[in-house]
């Protein structure tokens, strides 16, 4: 027998002991399932950080796809797909506005509303009834619907921008080819409580009327990378990133072809995959540099590579936040890039922690910068030693602190 002794009344403590966290934050992104991109990683990791800091966090997405988030989401976080699960009850508007006889402006307007309004309606339902205190939206496809859905509610929306604003808001091929979408992207920003950008000069791009809403929070370098310690350097020039035109690896191949013969003890390895892989392989073969220029595929533990390689070459056209250069600098690796590359030139300083080439000089300029570092071991060491200090603020703690401060400020608590 022996039942445990009855515990006297009052053991339960205050009646409010089981209240959920007071502040509710919702993160919104258009597509999350099965996607391993950089924005999706930041989205999931920010959600996990906020739940660890005591917020009630839910993640909202709207996509037809089935599956699970690629990056592990804390089990305490709700994940809600608000993509409509019912066929439209009205087909006639689609048929009517699909007519080629209509002016482009009318057709664009109608197409946009027919496509976006169901999602905006469901998001508004969510905001009106779930009543989060703050919504943080990721990337333009989520920023616009989130801002419009929350307009008129008490929800404070912080749209986040993870690229060069000019590309996100003006490039006719980026995000949507419908010009009305670009108009709405910019117009919706007036409903924002704050507008996030990665660097201060990205914020300066926005019109004067939005300047008081701009908030800068840079991305961060993963602890998985920082746990590595730089070791003996190998004669390797590293490229890390998606094999896509914007990364400009074809120019790296061209540059290497110019100097490869003079440096037979050096080699180039690019880690990553992407749509330009076949073209890059073709170029390597054409240039006859296959012996010293390799595509390494993807690998999960890049920290180990950064700790051993000699130079990171990042010839990209533009970046939102150049994570690969930042990670390389954190592990004392000098960086070669183009001086006009936004998202990199904010923290890579010519002659301090790397070398910045003039893009107008093309492959020759890039080859010259690489050769200067190859030939000068002391310069490599000196620039590398300056790396960690130049990216010292790009930490998870700093990132999480900045977001907590921003959320509290939007709620008028700070």
């Amino acid at each position: 027998m022996t039942a445990a002794a009855a515990i006297p009344s009052g053991i339960s403590g205050k009646p409010d002991r089981f209240r959920p966290p007071a502040t509710r934050v919702t993160l919104v992104i258009a597509n999350l399932l099965n996607r391993g991109g950089g924005a999706e990683r930041i989205f999931v990791e920010l959600a996990n950080m906020l739940v660890a800091r005591g917020y009630a966090v839910s993640c909202v997405h709207f996509e037809e796809a089935e599956g699970a988030p690629f990056y592990p989401l804390d089990r305490r976080i709700e994940l809600i797909n608000v993509h409509p699960r019912f066929p439209s009850e009205r087909r006639w508007p689609y048929n009517m506005f699909n007519s080629k006889r209509l002016p482009d402006r009318v057709r664009n307007w109608a197409e946009w509303h027919l496509k976006k309004d169901p999602v905006i309606g469901l998001l508004r339902d969510y905001f009106q009834h779930s009543k989060p205190d703050v919504a943080i939206s990721f990337l333009p496809p989520a920023n616009t619907p989130t801002l419009l859905a929350a307009a008129g509610t008490d929800v404070k929306v912080i749209p986040t921008n993870h690229n060069v604003p000019e590309r996100d808001y003006c490039d006719p091929k980026r995000w949507s080819t419908n010009p009305y979408d670009r108009v709405m992207r910019m117009k919706a920003l007036r409903h924002a409580a704050a507008i996030h950008v990665l660097f201060a000069d990205f914020g300066a791009w926005f019109p004067q009327s939005l300047q008081d809403k701009i908030v800068v929070v840079a991305n961060y370098i993963s602890k998985d990378v920082l746990r590595h310690r730089p070791g003996e350097r190998e004669n390797t020039i590293l490229g890390v990133g998606r094999l896509a035109p914007v990364k400009n690896y074809l120019m790296l191949a061209d540059a290497w072809a110019l100097i490869a013969a003079q440096h037979p003890d050096w080699r180039v390895v690019i880690y990553g995959d992407g749509p330009q892989q076949a073209k890059l392989e073709e170029r390597i073969a054409e240039l006859g540099i296959g012996d010293s220029f390799a595509l390494g595929g993807t690998r999960s533990d890049m920290g180990e590579v950064y700790a051993r390689a000699g130079i990171l070459c990042h010839p990209a056209e533009f970046e939102g936040f150049g994570l690969a250069p930042a990670e390389a600098l954190a592990l004392k690796m000098p960086v070669v890039a183009f001086a006009d590359c936004p998202g990199v030139n904010q923290f890579v300083v010519d002659g301090v922690n790397g070398l910045l080439a003039d893009r107008s000089g093309g492959a020759e300029a890039l080859a010259a910068a690489l050769e200067r570092l190859i030939d000068d071991r002391d310069l490599r060491r000196r620039l590398g030693d300056n790396g960690p200090a130049s990216v010292a603020t790009f930490t998870e703690e700093h990132f999480a602190d900045a977001w907590v401060e921003l959320i509290e400020r939007c709620l008028g608590k700070r």
Binding site: M1, T2, A3, A4, A5, A6, I7, P8, S9, G10, I11, S12, P15, R17, F18, R19, P20, S58, A68, L73, R75, R76, I77, E78, L79, I80, N81, V82, H83, P84, R85, F86, P87, E89, G121, L122, L123, D125, Y126, Q128, H129, S130
Partner: protein, 322 residues
């Protein structure tokens, strides 16, 4: 989030018979609790049960009987007392906070498990990866529905479907905690029971579990593994309707994303359901009010139902009962 007690979950899937916390809320129903405890004692599961009962402010006489019942038992029971009546969700939160075993199962005083329930559910839980599974899961089961004065009928839980939609419909997948066994961590990760829901807090808890990537599973048997003793007498129709309405608001987007027709059907069922409770309590006025509201949501279906005699007292839809 709940809990500071340590869970030896890492090793639990190697143990074929891990300890299971059985959580039972109690309020002025000692005889019913005795029936439930007896059904735990009769389990053919080889492992140990750690039974936790939380009394929610029963009368002094009932408390005395409860303590006596527990003292007389051969197998120990952990008894906690709220001291005052704080409601079912609060009591369930006290229970959740008291968990410390790798697995948790729930039981309500008056309902009973059949002897093979735990063994069948643990076998399924182990097959799903045990307490450390990457994917949160609960194992539910088919059950018997025993109306007072009628024969028991078997109710099937269907898990191979859109579980959110199925729970909102409440027809072939029902949110009953006492059917469940699952890793303790998965219950804790859902968070606390919503204290604003004196009824239907199970449904809210199930929905939140699914939103946290949880999935309901069935053991490898179609047999009923427990019995629910059911009666509408004394249930407050207004309170149940208010709880339905609260859930409808709280989870509005889950309804609306299935479309306006689906939403209308659920609102219609909510009123029909409330009308059933009002009828059982002999409250004709309230029954009429709920039937009128149901008519407004789906007039054609209402008239069809009325003509077929489906609106007679006791024949309305059986949805979530809270």
């Amino acid at each position: 989030m709940p809990g500071s007690s340590s869970l030896n979950a890492a090793l639990a899937n190697d143990d074929p018979s891990p300890t299971i916390d059985v959580l039972i809320p109690h309020y002025n129903s000692v005889d019913a609790l005795d029936l439930s405890l007896a059904s735990i004692d009769a389990q053919d599961y080889a492992g140990r049960f750690r039974v936790v009962v939380v009394d929610d402010g029963s009368t002094p006489e009932m408390i005395a009987r409860l303590r006596d019942l527990i003292d007389r038992r051969e197998r120990p029971v952990v008894l906690l007392e709220n001291g005052v009546n704080r409601g079912r969700p609060y009591t369930r939160n006290v229970l959740l906070d008291a968990t410390e075993s790798p697995y948790t199962a729930w039981l309500d005083a008056g309902d009973a498990w059949y002897p093979s329930k735990t063994a069948a559910q643990i076998a399924e839980a182990r097959a799903l990866g045990g307490p450390d599974s990457d994917t949160p899961f609960w194992v539910t089961c088919n059950f018997d529905w025993q109306w007072t004065g009628r024969e028991a009928t078997r109710r099937f839980q269907t898990v191979d479907q859109d579980q959110v939609m199925a729970l909102l419909r409440g027809k072939d997948l029902r949110a009953y905690l006492w059917t469940l066994l699952g890793p303790t961590r998965t219950f804790r990760d859902v968070g606390w029971f919503d204290e604003k829901l004196p009824r239907l807090q199970d449904l809210d808890f199930f929905l939140r579990f699914l939103l946290k990537r949880g999935r309901l599973h069935l053991p490898d048997t179609a047999e009923s593994l427990c019995v629910y003793h059911k009666s509408d007498i004394g249930r407050d129709a207004e309170q149940i309707r208010a709880c339905h309405a609260y859930i409808f608001d709280k989870h509005r987007v889950l309804y609306t994303r299935y479309g306006p027709k689906f939403t209308r059907v659920q609102l219609y069922n909510m009123e029909i359901h409330a009308a059933r409770f009002a009828a059982s309590n002999g409250d004709g006025g309230r029954r009429a009010t709920h039937l009128w509201r149901a008519f407004r949501h789906r007039p054609k279906q209402f008239v069809r139902r009325w003509r077929s005699g489906g609106l007679k007292a006791g024949k309305e839809t059986h949805q979530h009962d809270g």
